[in-house]
Amino acid sequence: MEVAELQKISSQIRRDIVRMVSDVQSGHPGGSLGCADFFAALYFEIMDIDPAKFEMDGKREDLFFLSNGHISPVLYSTLAHRGFFDKSELATFRLIDSRLQGHPSPAKNLPGVRIATGSLGQGLSVGIGAALAKKLNGDEKIVYTLHGDGELQEGQIWEAAMYAAGNKVDNLIATIDYNHKQIDGDIDDVLPMGDLAQKWQAFGWEVLKMDGHNHEEIVQTLTKAKSMCGNGKPIVIIMETIMGNGVDFMMHTHKWHGSAPSAEQAKEALSQLTETLGDY
């Protein structure tokens, strides 16, 4: 897929995110906007998946787990445009009886979601388990996970990091959304984490870095990561992003981590984002 096409998809995903959280006046737009480019590349270019025939066991296809489940809007919009369900369902986000829960869950049988996430730090372990099952099944597809940078403060992440390297779980590509921000402010003010790349290297992972807003670089880096699978090491990509990317007044601040724009603010945000695939 051409970069221009991925950019169009990202723009539509960002529009959906703004509209979804604004409509219900709740949700997490900042991290969602920051990961729109990654989701477009991952779901429309990288992963081998069959949205029309979603099966929970995911055999013979790539799998993705959103460990930082609070950025569910970007996942839901991506899944809808990729064909897992009709985009009209995005209008039900966070409403009662919806399959689009505030944080993703398989409890409502939403195609594309295989595990509940939201309580942070659990998705890497789940990804490892799914990757181990693929190895047992002789399934050569890959497991992808995404994590917030703040999420790395959870101890379970490092239990999982140690396990994956120690046991050569090399069909696993984890990506860190490194926007340097969390709810209470800058990561360096809340709990400094030092040199993330060195930490992951010390735990025995292959470490790649990429600019999370450059589609060409995202595709190249994920493709490189895929080519490195099977070499005895799990792979982590530290993805530099800007929280709120794509909407000028929402960028470079933690303020929009978990706050919804008002109707007026949403209108201003949408004026900066081109409708490319049709709003829901």
Binding site: R114, S125, E159, A160
Partner: protein, 317 residues
């Protein structure tokens, strides 16, 4: 009173190990995970016979629960093994989100439950695990009474699709149930038919209830003894039928009163059949180091306590 022959004395954890070993031979989807307690959990045989399907996780229980949840996504049936304390309290949120809410087919297998863990003391003697697990939607909670029943339960839960908590213990205790009896999840087992008082027991307390039953009979009280090996889903029908006949009830468990079998029964009776109820359980205190039998006596959950509770229940009719 029906006679129960003691076949031998064995630990229930060895029943788990034997059941898991059999599953290794019969069900290729069964995998096992352990957090550095292979010997204590009796998982050696499964590990040795199925090295590709065994995962040593290390001392990282949260990661173990998450990996188990992930393994189900590829169609595997993971059995996690560690002490009951680290199987539940330590990883409650991981179980809640990745297993119970996600409704994953994980079998959480927990040894060294309760006071009879003994000398290690209160840090390891969890008495809240049944309560923690039974509160979770989607979770099935099983507490078998001896080696044979634990083995049968281990095999049975592999056939059931959904999250299960399987609780067993450390000490060697009388092994007396029929080794050929099929374990039926959710079906309480009437061990002895009686008419004066219903004794509902679970886990190690089932044998204590049988011992108590003999003494009660000598005192002129004919007890109906029911092995409640499944705490959830709870077999209301069997229990209510019995209490309708006996008009009073005793519960007996190696667990905290809050959240245990007695609490489930109290809720049921309050809703459907108000009746005198006496609970043999640990009452809002932690345990301590000591020998298992000594601790059961000190904390009021031994044979004598079941006898006394039955007498009180009968007097309250």
């Amino acid at each position: 009173m029906k006679t129960f022959e003691i076949i031998d004395h064995k630990d229930t954890r060895s029943g788990f190990g034997a059941g898991l070993q059999e599953l290794g031979k019969t069900n290729p989807n069964v995998v096992a995970l352990c957090a550095d307690l292979i010997g204590s959990l009796k998982m050696n045989a499964f590990k040795d016979e199925n090295p590709d399907r065994f995962f040593q996780i290390g001392i990282a229980e949260a990661n173990m629960i998450g990996i188990a949840a992930g393994l189900t996504i590829g169609g595997k049936i993971p059995f996690t093994g560690t002490f009951a304390n680290f199987s539940t309290g330590r990883v409650y949120d991981q179980i809640r989100q990745s297993v119970a809410y996600s409704n994953k087919n994980v079998k959480i297998c927990a040894s060294h439950a309760g006071l009879t863990l003994g000398e290690d003391g209160a840090t390891h003697q969890i008495l809240e695990d049944i309560g923690l697990m039974k509160m979770l939607p989607n979770m099935t909670v099983i507490s078998p009474c001896d080696y044979n029943e634990t083995k049968a339960a281990t095999i049975a839960i592999a056939e059931y699709e959904g999250p299960v908590y399987l609780r067993f213990g450390r000490p060697k205790v009388p092994n007396f149930t029929d080794p050929n009896k099929k374990f039926v999840i959710g079906k309480a087992d009437v061990m002895n038919e009686g008419k004066d008082v219903t004794i509902l027991a679970t886990g190690h307390l089932v044998w204590k209830a049988i011992e108590a039953g003999k003494a009660l009979l000598e005192k002129g009280i004919n007890p109906e003894i029911i092995n409640v090996h499944t705490i959830k889903p709870f077999d209301e029908e069997t229990v209510l039928n019995s209490i309708n006949k006996t008009k009073c009830v005793v519960t007996a468990e190696e667990h905290m009163m809050n959240g245990g079998l007695g609490d489930t029964v109290a809720q049921l009776l309050a809703r459907k059949l108000p009746s005198p109820l006496e609970m043999v359980a640990v009452n809002d205190t932690f345990g301590e180091s000591g020998k298992g039998e000594e601790l059961l006596t000190k904390y009021g959950v031994n044979t004598q306590d079941v006898i006394a509770a039955a007498e009180r229940a009968v007097q309250r009719k």
